[in-house]
Amino acid sequence: MNNFGVLLLKEERALFSSPIAYVVMTVFLLIMGYSFTLTLFLSHQPSLVHVFFQIFVLFMLTVPLITMRLLAEERKLRTLEVLLTAPVSEIEIVLAKFVASMSLIALMLLLSGAYAAVLVLFGDPDLGPIYSGYLGLLLFGSALVGVGLLASALTANQIIAAIVSLSAFLLLWIIDNFGWLLPSPFDTLVVNLSLSVHFRPFAIGSVYLSDVGFFLSVALLTLLLSVRALARR
């Protein structure tokens, strides 16, 4: 196992030995189960579009809880000093934390796959929007984890990290509402920063490279900035 593998294993253990992961998963599944059941019985439509939009909102509320401790805790407990004076690179540390957090996101999505399985078993859903919805949520999740990780890299206080990332998510969620009010070309610029503008097509079955590129760019940029934040000492 290389250093990245060792660090990833450590992060997975830290994540799944903390109650936060289980609380987040439980709350997520309870809320989504209730929402899925209610929507299905009311609409009688074999679709997960509503569920995807609700997961979209729920991710913005839960990802800060997953990412807030990633680097802030290491900084506060000074284990970062142990890690950064050992022969491991900042890139390996940041990537291990990112991948570990993404594994929890992926696990939550996997468990929510039960809703899709119910639809397939008892109905005839259009699978295209389901696949694109999950792809969109995964990409959206990676952007959120990147932003959360960056917030955690900039402070030793977990609460501040959570509040900063939550504020950033909420701002980027509704920023298109303000963007439309701006004169051209600022309107296009601001509207295209919106998380919901880029997620909406995925939820309804359309995959655009621009949306894929947006989420991947946010994730890569924030990871790069997190590495820089660790390297700047």
Binding site: M1, V6, S18, T79, E81, L83, T85, A86, P87
Partner: protein, 315 residues
């Protein structure tokens, strides 16, 4: 042989505050060097720069021939660092933590097993290997932290306040352990406890307000000699006679009160048969001596002298 550590004019600013001020020193292979200084004198900052955790604002630092900034990864491979207060991953068991540290130092498989077992045995961690590090006492945390530093046989061990918070038995054990590393490892340790560093280090550097006051306090203290004697007779006569002995720099009298013989502390240049010459001169002058002894080299005095100088200069 090239030095393991070579610091040249290292300075570190934290905003407007200069934590380390133009520090230069070298550490040769196999040395146990103590860095002595009061809290806040810049010891931890200097160590963090040495380990590549902080970058110097000016100057350069090399470990095993590698620059700590430009070749940080090579430096990290050559060094093991025990930060102050032993930060550990509290959710990990001791054995997991040691294995994790061994793994990130590149030890795998049988080598990893041997290194972990050897470090655990050396620090007597057998009874706590399956305990979470978060549940350990301060002494055990310190031992786990030192055990991880021994993994991978680093060229340089850097220990920041290694005996801080330990009980006397643990202090003795850690002191013996560090002494036993002499020759095999180069050790650089920081402490604000003067007697502690005096017992462990073969060379002591003193840091105050970020400035390195001396690179070898023990040598400075050994430059002269202090002889303590208790003598009857007139103080003026004792002073006259002792002052006439070659090499004597100063004589201080300590009065116990009453009719007890006065105790004198004589500072002199170190030379053979100095004490014998003083005793002979006093006896020849009719002064009776009830006690004579050489005061061992006094790091405390050097420390106080050196740390007072800047204050006096400022005044």
């Amino acid at each position: 042989m090239s030095p393991v550590v070579l610091a040249q004019h290292v300075t570190k600013w934290y905003g407007p505050r200069r934590a380390v001020n133009d520090v230069s020193f070298a550490v040769e292979p196999g040395e146990i060097v103590g860095l002595l200084g009061p809290n806040g004198s810049g010891k931890s900052t200097l160590f963090r720069i040495l380990c590549g955790y902080l970058a110097p604002s000016a100057g350069s630092m090399q470990v095993a021939g590698h620059d700590v900034v430009a070749e940080s990864m090579e430096v990290r491979r050559a060094i093991s660092y025990v930060p102050e207060d032993s930060p550990l991953y509290d959710h990990m068991r001791v054995v997991e933590f040691l294995r994790f540290m061994a793994n990130i130092k590149g030890l795998r498989g049988a080598t990893e097993n041997r290194a972990v077992a050897a470090a655990a045995e050396r620090l007597d961690l057998g009874g706590v290997m399956t305990m979470p590090t978060g549940k350990l006492s301060r002494g055990f945390r310190q031992r786990v932290s030192i055990a991880q530093a021994l993994l991978g046989e680093p060229k340089l061990l850097v220990l920041d306040e290694p005996t801080s918070g330990l009980d006397p038995h643990q202090v003795i054990a850690v002191r013996d352990l560090i002494r036993s590393l002499a020759g095999r490892h180069t050790v650089l340790l920081a402490s604000h406890v003067l007697p502690e560093i005096e017992k462990i280090a073969t060379r002591v550097m003193i840091l105050l307000d970020g400035r390195l006051l001396t690179g070898d306090a023990l040598e400075e203290s050994a430059g002269g000699v202090r002889i303590r004697l208790r003598a009857t007779g007139a103080e003026a006569a004792v002073r006259d006679i002792c002052g006439g002995v070659g090499g004597v720099r100063s004589i201080a009298a300590e009065h116990d009160g009453g009719s007890a013989p006065v105790r004198y502390v004589i500072e002199a240049e170190r030379r053979p048969s100095l004490a014998a010459d003083i005793v002979t001169a006093l006896v020849a002058g009719g002064i009776a001596i009830t006690e004579v002894s050489e005061v061992p080299h006094d790091l405390e005095r050097v420390f106080l002298d050196l740390t007072r100088r800047p204050a006096q200069a400022a005044a």
